[in-house]
Amino acid sequence: MTFDQFIQNLANGISLGSLYALIAIGYTMVYGILRLINFAHGDIVMLGAYVAFYGVVMFMLPWWVAFPLAIILTAGIGVIIERAAYRPLRSFPRINLFTSAVAVSFLLENLGNVIFGGRPKAFERPAFMDIALQIGEASVLSYTPIIIVTAAILFAILIYIVNRTKVGMAMRALSKDIETTGLMGINTDRIIMFSFMLGSALAAAGGILWAIKFPQINPLMGVMPGLKAFIAAVLGGIGNITGAMLGGFLLGVVEIMIVAFFPDLSGYRDAFAYVILILLLLFRPTGIMGEVQAEKV
């Protein structure tokens, strides 16, 4: 492999990784607070992409209106799902919550099938994202750096919210101990709602960027990115936001690089993530950044 090809693959890996990372944050925030693997999160990604698609195609909105609007609407849907399907089950065994997430995921996918149609739709990227850029000998289309930069900006906003604002502090407190935080006079319901909103907004952004990178959207498009992002969240240490970003980038780059270096293995591409995951779980069960929690006996 030439150096230029390497750069090309690296750019590709980082942009894929930043998408995984965007989606992984929602998983990790929800898990950190509710200990729920929100399997419907991947379908939020799909919704984001579709809402943006319809905004542009059906309502003729310019992309800079349609995309933010899609993010806001999808965030709202995330909040509704939390309110309707998760909040009533909070005090129940976790399997109920998990099954509820699975049911919501089914519902979104099949509603997508019914409303949007099962056939893939072509997502047109705005023209300025299709410009070929020369980096040395390598050439990348402009959407690759745009994805990376957009994701970076969103990460910066998120980190600011989590670390510097009051609501962010409450979120961190909640993930440590939900009951005590409630006793401190914090409205835990509202903070949980906010977390879902934030996570869904990032997932929607991830969905739109995903559709820009892979411009074919279908109602099941969120499943694979969702699972991969979840793995990324576990890799980084589930519940840990920085870890989720790290895990996302790592997974994206590794996936692309393994295929780049060992083309024979490309058929196994979807298995890499799981193999990495299982190995990591066996040797460091709490992920890269996760804290080791000893059980009190």
């Binding site: 898990y31 200990r35 693997i37 399997f39 399907a85 009533p88 089950l89 129940f92 065994p93 976790r94 399997i95 109920n96 998990f98 099954t99 509820s100 699975v102 049911a103 919501v104 995921s105 089914f106 519902l107 996918e109 099949n110 509603l111 099938n113 019914v114 099962g118 699972l227 979840f230 793995i231 576990v234 589930i238 058929g267 196994y268 979807d270 298995a271 993530a273 799981y274 193999v275 995951l277 299982i278 779980l281 066996l282 069960p285 059980e295 006996v297």
Partner: protein, 357 residues
């Protein structure tokens, strides 16, 4: 040993059921037979998930993978040499498998055993993980199995799948396997080993402190569970006669989890009932996906609508009927009589251990 009224009733019910199967097998068309067979297969899936999660508390999402192993083993062992040759036109099949053809019974057993072996292999490292981490790892294993199926062309024919698997599965095979599965798992859960499994579910630390070998017991639960999932996979392959890796997406596992929760976690008979209801429900709703006319009104079919309704139903059950159809209760004759005498217990959720027949 005395034969109690309840044992007699059970025997009677089994004989009547066998009679029904006999009549059904000869009377109904293939479409209805297929549905009744699918009820049985999903029952086994749900019962085994109940063993691994409802009884042992191990959140394993590997069912689709175990079923895939069983299905492929049975398919490859029952297909004739010509069928295999017709299937493997891109990559020839490995010579060892090319002419191998076994009777269905042995194929089913082999399917179960290999699935159990895979289940144990997966369980062995997974034993170190708990709760959600176990769930993710087993889901991962299941997906790895699927990716392997796609890539091992000389054995599995890759993404093309296998077509023309002999349709050996009939009601006797499928429901016979349900009865055996129910019997074995019910018996197992009533033994001291079953108590140990429940103890592990309730409190792993305390169970281990009382001398329960965690690894051995979990391994047992995984192996038994995977064995019957493999059997169900075999039945499925020889029922639908065409399989490919896509049949065994983790979507299948989710369905199984949904069915089990709907039937009641910890209730084996609940799993069976929910599996039948689920399968029948999906079929009954099939017409709404094809165009139909009511009076003068022409309604175009909406593909996917059935699954929308199913997901809504599942959500309703989870949200408003949180312990499922049966809770942790099992079907018992005493309960049935009580029900008809109108002497329903005040608390519907008391555990019925000890009062079964």
């Amino acid at each position: 040993m005395k034969i109690s009224r309840n044992t007699l009733l059970t025997l009677g019910a089994l004989i009547i059921f066998a009679g029904f199967l006999y009549v059904a097998q000869n009377m109904f068309n293939t479409y209805i037979l297929r549905i009744i067979n699918l009820c049985a297969i999903y029952s086994i899936f749900a019962i085994t998930f109940n063993l691994i999660y409802g009884y042992t508390g191990q959140f394993s999402l590997g069912h689709a993978g175990f079923a895939a192993v069983g299905a492929y083993v049975a398919a490859l062992l029952t297909m004739s040499a010509q069928q295999k040759e017709a299937n493997f036109f891109l990559t020839p099949i490995v010579p060892a498998l090319a002419t191998m053809q076994w009777p269905f019974l042995f194929a089913i057993i082999a399917a179960g055993l290999l699935a159990a072996l895979v289940g144990s292999l997966i369980a062995w490292p997974a034993l170190r993980l708990r709760g959600d981490y176990l769930a993710i790892a087993t889901l991962g294993f299941s997906e790895i199995i699927r990716v392997l199926l796609v890539n091992m062309q000389p054995v599995t024919n890759g993404a093309l799948g296998l077509k023309g698997i002999p349709p050996y599965t009939n009601l006797f095979w499928s429901w016979g396997c349900v009865v055996i599965t129910l019997f074995v798992i019910k018996r197992l859960t009533n033994t001291s080993y079953g108590r140990a499994l429940r103890a592990i579910r309730d409190d792993e630390v305390a169970a281990e402190a009382l001398g329960v070998q965690l690894a051995r017991h979990k391994l047992m639960a995984f192996a038994v569970s995977a064995f019957f999932v493999g059997v169900a996979g075999a039945l499925m392959a020889n029922l639908i006669s065409t399989i490919d890796p896509k049949v065994f997406l983790f979507f299948l596992t989710y369905q199984i989890v949904g069915i089990t929760v709907m039937g009641g976690m910890g209730s084996l008979t609940g799993s069976t009932i929910a599996a039948c209801l689920y399968t029948i429900f999906l079929e009954v709703l099939r017409p709404i996906e094809s165009p139909f006319t009511i009076g003068n009104l022409h309604v175009p079919g909406v593909p996917g609508m059935r699954m929308v309704l199913f997901s809504i139903l599942l959500l309703i059950v989870i949200l408003f009927y949180r312990h499922g159809l049966m809770g942790t209760r099992e079907f018992s004759w005493d309960r049935l009589f009580e029900f008809f005498r109108g002497k329903k217990k005040a608390s519907p959720l008391t555990n019925s251990e000890g009062e079964q027949e």
